[in-house]
């Protein structure tokens, strides 16, 4: 697409939050504090921040698990403050959580995956095809009759993702979905997420693992309920001072780059992946 056409048909904001304020406690401590953030359709946005920075609170607004207390929010082009939109928004946004263990409603994969569409009133005859498509999308075709509790951690999370896909949402929200998995499981889930994004889903990934966010289109860093910074992963992750303020640590290559600089060794640019660092050191 040429830039001229792009300018005429800008990619719309599928999520738009303006001055969101949220407080759980009666003492008025704000978990979200005048937070404004937008997500473009088809974008892969990583949301980072320390524990308690408001990441999960924000995510829970996106499928209206939490009601907007103050501010404006549109999700999937629908006003989240209008109670009539709640179910339509939930159908458009699929959310996967941290712990694979407590997201299942059935012991059989197929039944578990049918639960979502059934609740949204999808005709019974259409459900098996949806289940098949969802399993294919997470690379687990043929697992229909398997027991959910006998799967590995990575497989469980992929089934949880498939469970969300059966409802055919436009926006996928992942709330620290890899933090409980072993490295092999992490890779399975990361690859699955990358594939779903390539196929056009809008992906919002909450994490505090910077290595995981390197592949995102954009990253947003939250701090104490506020938006501290937003930009490309390269812009944000090469700034150790910014990361430190957000309670995050820089990726290994960035840390090495800066520590080597401190020793008088200057590399031509700051790498954010191990591959880039390798090339710089082996030139």
């Amino acid at each position: 697409m040429s830039d001229a056409i792009k300018a005429e048909n800008p990619v719309p904001d599928i999520v738009k939050a303006e001055n969101l304020v949220h407080s759980y406690a009666e003492d008025g401590r704000r978990s979200l504090d005048s937070l404004s953030l937008s997500v473009k359709q088809g974008e892969f946005l990583a949301i980072l921040g320390h524990n308690g920075s408001g990441k999960t609170t924000l995510a829970r607004h996106l499928n209206v698990l939490l009601e907007v207390q103050q501010g404006e929010l549109t999700v999937a082009f629908l006003n989240a403050k209008d109670p009539a939109n709640v179910w339509r928004i939930r159908e458009k946004t699929g959310m996967v959580f941290q712990n694979p263990e407590n997201q299942f409603v059935s012991f059989v994969v197929e039944e578990d995956l049918s639960f979502g569409p059934r609740n949204f009133g999808v005709p019974e005859a259409e459900i098996p095809a949806r289940v098949r498509r969802a399993l294919a999308a997470v690379d687990m075709s043929g697992y229909e009759k398997r027991s959910t509790h006998l799967l590995s951690g990575g497989q469980k999370q992929r089934i949880a993702i498939a469970g969300v896909l059966t409802v055919e949402p436009d926006i996928l929200i992942f709330d620290e979905v890899t933090s409980m998995l072993d490295p092999a499981g992490r890779k399975e889930v990361r690859d699955t997420i990358a594939r779903l994004h390539e196929k056009g889903k809008t992906v919002i990934m909450i994490s505090h693992d910077i290595g995981e966010a390197v592949g995102a289109d954009r990253a947003a860093i939250l701090n104490s309920g506020r938006l501290l910074a937003v930009g490309t992963p390269r812009e944000l992750f090469t700034d150790p001072e910014l990361l430190h303020r957000a309670g995050l640590t820089p990726p290994l290559p960035v840390r090495l780059y800066h520590d080597l600089r401190g020793r008088g060794i200057r590399l031509s640019y700051c790498p954010i992946t191990c591959g880039e660092l390798e090339e710089l050191l082996c030139r």
């Binding site: 759980y24 406690a25 921040g49 320390h50 524990n51 308690g52 920075s53 999960t56 941290q98 712990n99 590995s152 951690g153 990575g154 620290e176 933090s179 409980m180 998995l181 072993d182 490295p183 092999a184 499981g185 505090h208 910077i210 290595g211 309670g247 995050l248 640590t249 290994l252 290559p253 840390r255 090495l256 520590d259 080597l260 020793r263 060794i265 191990c274 591959g275 660092l277 390798e278 050191l281 082996c282």
Partner: protein, 282 residues
């Protein structure tokens, strides 16, 4: 106060169609003052192993010794075990239940014959270790904290008892990077103060940095057991079995393949930095 597992096997739901052997003849001695990391893929038996070591499961075969005494003997004093061996399970935050932080942290001290002051001092110390201001949090509800903070509160409850032997199951999963580092530094301090630590983790970089010895399980059996630098040297062997030797080790390997003469036992960040700086320019 060593813990010894001697040819321990464990089968879940024995004698039923669901019988599953989780551990097969494991022998392992954890000596006083060691910091041991336990790794392995999901389902390899790690959690079963620590539950046996803590006396929460009884072996199907074999014995578990604490200080040379079989903890599953009928006459063994289990109270001693509970006070000496602290266990931090996965997601310890779900164990919070009291109305205030102070009461919750003090719960484990309930049946110890300590004075009120001694108990309060222990609670204060444990909360401060975990990075809380005692006076500021003591009367708050433990449920009003974020996920990571709740994790630290729950761990304070285990540390309040001052166990000699601390067993942890994935304590850093879900903690943000600074909380993770702060927690690992605290573990290092407790370890230097004489506490024996046995920690399950997938975080090879953390274990490389903090644990002297690495034990890896595979399908219920011992796959590796040795000094961290030695175990993580064999990156290929570990990778084939779905185990990461960590990012530092990966970077070491990348550079080695490109002709850098960095020893394959380079597994800690500080070592890697020195190796690169010391060999630059090539």
């Amino acid at each position: 106060m060593p813990i010894e597992l001697r040819e321990v096997s464990y089968t879940y739901a024995p004698g039923t169609p669901y019988a599953a052997q989780a551990l097969k003849k494991i022998s392992l001695i954890v000596r006083d003052g060691e910091f041991v990391g336990i790794m392995g893929r999901t389902g390899c038996g790690k959690s079963t192993l620590i539950q046996l070591a803590a006396g929460l499961l009884t072996p199907s075969a074999g014995q578990v010794f604490l200080d040379g005494e079989d903890i599953n003997e009928r006459h063994f004093d289990r109270n001693r075990l509970r006070q000496k061996v602290g266990v931090v399970f996965q997601f310890p935050e779900i164990q919070l239940f009291e109305t205030t932080v102070e009461k919750d942290t003090a719960f484990g001290l309930k049946y110890l014959d300590w004075s009120g002051e001694k108990k309060q001092a222990a609670v204060r110390r444990a909360l401060e270790w975990m990075g809380f201001d005692f006076e500021a949090v003591r009367n708050r509800s433990p449920f009003g904290f974020s996920g990571g903070e709740k994790r630290r509160l729950a761990i304070a409850g285990v540390l309040a008892v001052m166990p000699k032997f601390l067993i942890l199951d994935e304590p850093t999963a879900g903690l943000d990077p600074l909380s993770r580092e702060a927690f690992l530094e605290l573990l290092r301090k407790l370890h230097q103060g004489g506490m024996t630590v046995l920690m399950i983790s997938h975080d090879a970089d953390a274990l490389a940095e903090y644990a002297g010895r690495i034990v890896i399980l595979k399908e219920g059996m011992l796959f590796r057991d040795g000094p961290a630098a030695e175990v993580f040297s064999d990156q290929e062997g570990l990778k084939e079995n779905g185990i990461s030797a960590g990012q530092v080790r990966e970077m070491t390997e990348r550079l080695r393949r490109r002709g850098w003469e960095i020893p394959c036992g380079t597994i800690r960040y500080g070592q890697l930095l020195e190796e690169i700086a010391g060999r630059w320019p090539r």
